[in-house]
Amino acid sequence: MAHENFEIADGVDHQVAMVMDLNKCIGCQTCTVACKTLWTEREGTEYMYWNNVETRPGKGYPRRWEEKGGGWVSDEHTERTPGEIPASEDYGEAWEFDHEGILKEGEDKKLAPEGGKPEWGPNWDEDQGAGEHPNSYYFYLPRICNHCTHPSCVEACPRQAVYKREEDGVVLVDQDRCRGYRYCVEGCPYKKIYYNAVSKNSEKCVFCYPRIEGEGPDEEIHPPACADQCVTQLRLVGYLDDTDGPIYKLVEQYEVALPLHPEYQTTPNVYYIPPFAPPQHSEGGETVDVDRIPRSYLEQLFGERVHDALDTIEQERQKVERGGYSELMEILQDTNPAEQYRLDRTGVFDDD
């Protein structure tokens, strides 16, 4: 589909997208639990977190995922970058606790993971961050599948079992076609496809497609569970090509919502408002005009455009401080669910 200034994948009618405002994330993991409860409480999925929240700077989940390759060599999308599959030790094993023995049978032992002392797990480095007192810093980075416009996982599968849905660009693994070869796992640079050793298939975030289709018992359209359950309501969900919607405005118009690691060349459809933090302090406790979160670090995550994005947000914020009006600030503070979750396509698109 031809669009004026942004790209939708070939063969896809509309692209669903999400914007996460990192300034609102408190690291409570409610999104993680919402997703886990809904999708990955089955056998073989214990170690999976389709939605995870990791502390940055940090090693992430799975550990050091940014060093494991995948994605495309260039924006021509003709040659893929080799990738590797993380080991279970990098994801972290699902720990077993003997609640039964300790609480019901009175066994005299400490409640601790069975089978030895674990050495890594999701959120192992929670809140560690970087920097030294009084200028230490960290922020939280929630991550789901990016439902990319150029998904290297789709290209990696030799069986065409991974595909991008025509109606909304959601990337799915056909569980009947998948034979568990895991080329998608190694091909995804975000490591957001997981292997289920019980079903012998690979699995991933489905963008809660039954919810956004209104296929639940109440037949109402709901945002994905991670967004719906978010305590601070930091996520906006809608369609990138809904030019009247907040996602389009944040991503395309104001260019303040950025994809994670654009250099992987997969063109993610999950975007982040980059985080601000209070300025640094001097030894004596005075505020000094130095970014607490180094711009260079944010550039590593979000690319060069992060400078303009942060500058734009700062300018718009100052405009409001001076008593002016800023559409951008209104969007970022909107508490109207109808605007935050624009998922009903009726009347939005001519073809729906």
Binding site: I85, P86, Y91, P158, Q160, Y195
Partner: protein
């Protein structure tokens, strides 16, 4: 040339004719790419069952399948020893190959299983494309993995593998730690029910190809060691391929002709020499 010399040449020629016919049979009792499939009385239902002593083995070289997948050229298995046998309306195939490590567990996301497969055409009268057949010429694949799973698959080209709903293939497998060797037996009825299942009726020889995956080398999917097409001589003529017999007969005739012509030439030369003296 004397009468005696002539008879010596004729005798020599006769020996050559006999030898040209007999030596190939003695040196290479089996046409190239044949895997013998005798009818066996003993028990074949087991990786090391007694009946396998009755079935001659064929050494089948393997090489990397040209799948285009990452690391496709990296395969560890260079050859597989293949035996085949028939018994009571069933077909059995045993594969044995060297593997220094048995990979039986793929519970870690980055661990892969050892595996092996036997591929046969659905239509036994026509040899399909070696790489999983084609849409117009399907193949059956009997697929074993070292966690004990067996699948009976249908394929019509790369990436099209589909499992039959009710599999009719059984396997037995064993790994010999001392010899670092897998032994896997595949068994299926020769003529099972079901659409697109190869019926081994005896009307044709059976084309067959083999594949081995080394899980420790992350081999899976098209990253595998594969053979060319071989065949089980289960058709009406078990005597070898016709073209081989024709070629050997032609070679025998040629040798005789050369010997006779040479003998005549020598005799003529000598008689002319005698005349001059």
């Amino acid at each position: 040339m004397t009468e005696r010399t002539t008879w010596t040449f004729v005798g020599f020629a006769a020996i050559l004719v006999v030898a040209s016919a007999a030596i190939p049979a003695l040196v290479d009792a089996r046409p190239a790419r044949e895997v013998p499939a005798p009818t066996v009385e003993g028990n074949l239902s087991g990786a090391n069952a007694d009946g396998w002593a009755e079935a001659p083995a064929a050494e089948v070289p393997l090489s990397a399948a040209p799948s285009g997948l990452p690391n496709a050229e990296s395969v560890n298995t260079r050859s597989v020893e293949v035996q085949a046998a028939r018994a009571d309306g069933d077909v059995f195939v045993r594969l044995q190959w060297q593997d220094t490590e048995a990979s039986r567990n793929a519970s870690n996301p980055n661990a892969f299983l050892d595996g092996a497969a036997v591929q046969i055409p659905v239509d036994t009268s026509e040899q399909p494309a070696i790489a999983m057949g084609s849409q117009s010429n399907l193949v059956n694949v009997w697929y074993w993995t070292a966690d004990g799973d067996t699948e009976e698959l249908l394929a019509g080209g790369q990436g099209s593998t589909t499992a039959f709903e009710n599999e009719t293939v059984r396997t037995w497998a064993s790994y010999d730690d001392g010899e670092d060797t897998w032994s896997v037996v595949f068994n299926r009825e020769a003529e099972p029910d079901g659409d697109n299942r190869t019926a081994i009726t005896g009307e044709d020889d059976l084309d067959v190809a083999f594949a081995v995956w080394d899980g420790a080398n992350d081999e899976r999917s098209g990253q595998k060691a594969v053979s060319e097409w071989y065949y089980l001589p289960v058709g009406p003529d078990d005597g070898g391929t016709p073209f081989a017999s024709i070629l050997w007969a032609l070679a025998g005739i040629a040798i005789v002709a050369v010997v006779v012509l040479t003998a005549q030439g020598i005799r003529r030369a000598r008689s002319e020499g005698d005349g001059r003296l």
